[in-house]
């Protein structure tokens, strides 16, 4: 699971109002090289919750992302490379995503999060 996906997921449990971002529990992280594409990154940037990405990357041990970012940084290749690495190349392979409000764990196995709810959570 890429951190882009983490950035797009929230807790879907009934009644939860503050389900984003999901906390990350790590068992195994892998890095996979992805072709660099500046246009894609510029298109994705406005769709990303920056704080959540910075936090998730930190949890996975990557601390190169700036806390705050001005859109003008999108002209810097150095910045884009870091954004690229955090967004697409760091994968949570085994572990869990945890609802920040209820503590409910959504397991991540073979890089695939399982967001299925129990009957009493829908």
């Amino acid at each position: 699971m890429r951190l882009l996906t983490h950035n797009m997921l929230s807790s879907n449990i009934k009644g939860v109002t503050n389900g984003f971002p999901l906390r990350i529990e790590i068992e195994k992280v892998v890095e996979k090289q992805v072709d660099f594409n500046a246009d894609f990154l510029r298109n994705m940037f406005p769709k990303i919750e920056w704080k959540a990405l910075v936090g998730a990357a930190r949890t996975l041990g990557y601390v190169e992302l700036p806390e705050e970012v001005e859109p003008s940084r999108l002209d810097s290749e150095d910045f884009l490379r870091k954004f690229h690495h955090a967004l697409l190349e760091l994968h949570l392979e085994e572990g869990a995503l945890v609802c920040p409000e209820t503590g409910r764990r959504f397991p991540v196995s073979k890089g695939i999060p399982n967001m299925l709810l129990h009957e009493d959570e829908v």
């Binding site: 894609f40 999060p113 399982n114 967001m115 299925l116």
Partner: protein, 252 residues
């Protein structure tokens, strides 16, 4: 320019995962038929709901290219694992999520998805067969085969971007003209990209897109009956010609 699609021999399988079938092939044929438009569309985010073996999302990724980002969901945990293997065997990537339709994604992905593809469980069955564990949930569609389809449509409407497109498989028994009319009321135009008559099924692949005229008409429709009946006529005329297209793929 290549127009590669997923190769059957590289599609992974599992006894409880839907194998690519006529409906899957018709959907991929529709994507191929619309390839030129898809490439011009330059989608950033693409999503498949109910990916099964991964045959369709892999084909979409091969057709559109790795400049876009792909996400695929399925309610069946075996399916997403099989889909992962199928994607890897073709050297393409999609993010996989085990979930009900797009649950968990709807908040953050709202208005961000440029292409959605769906081959839903569309076979009319008793309502209590819908959503069961295992392979039956791959086809069981409840009354008129509409149970899951009717849940998917509002989700798709929420997720699609302003320029977003939805490609969906329907069966004649699903009453596709009514589906198109419902989508028209939400401001979407529609077109049948492929229609196919197999031994057992009469399938349509319908493309939906947000359309300014439809949005205006949708607003007018409440007060204006003539508009609504005109819409119905044009939709029905589209479906009317289908019996003459037996077996052939007709690009409209």
């Amino acid at each position: 320019m290549s127009s590669r699609i997923a190769q059957i021999r590289l599609v992974s399988s599992h006894p409880e995962v839907y194998e690519p079938c006529d409906d899957s092939f018709a959907l991929v044929d529709a994507l191929l038929a619309d390839r030129k438009n898809l490439l011009e569309h330059q989608p950033t985010l693409c999503l498949e709901l109910g990916c099964g073996s991964g045959y369709v999302i892999t084909s979409l990724a091969l057709i559109v290219g790795q400049e876009a980002h792909y996400i695929a969901t399925d309610i069946n945990p075996h399916a997403v694992r099989v889909a992962r293997e199928t994607l890897e065997a073709h050297g393409v990537h999609a993010e996989l999520i085990t979930t009900n339709i797009a649950s968990g994604l709807e908040k953050r992905l709202a208005g961000l998805v440029d292409v959605i593809v769906v081959n839903p469980p569309y076979v009319p069955t008793p309502e209590d067969e819908v959503g069961h564990e295992g392979i039956a949930s791959a086809w069981a569609g409840g009354e008129n085969g509409r149970s899951v389809i009717d849940k998917i449509l509002p989700v798709a409407d929420n997720l699609l971007s302003e320029k977003g497109w939805l490609y969906m498989v329907t069966l004649t028994e699903n009453n596709p003209s009514e589906i198109c009319l419902q989508m028209k009321e939400k401001g979407y135009a529609s077109r049948i990209i492929v229609q196919r008559l197999t031994e057992e099924e009469n399938l349509q692949i319908i493309k939906f897109w947000r359309d300014f005229d439809s949005q205006l008409e949708a607003k007018g429709m409440v007060a204006n009956k003539t508009v609504s009946s005109r819409v119905m006529e044009s939709l029905l005329s589209q479906f009317h010609i289908m019996p003459f297209l037996r077996g052939s793929n007709k690009q409209q």
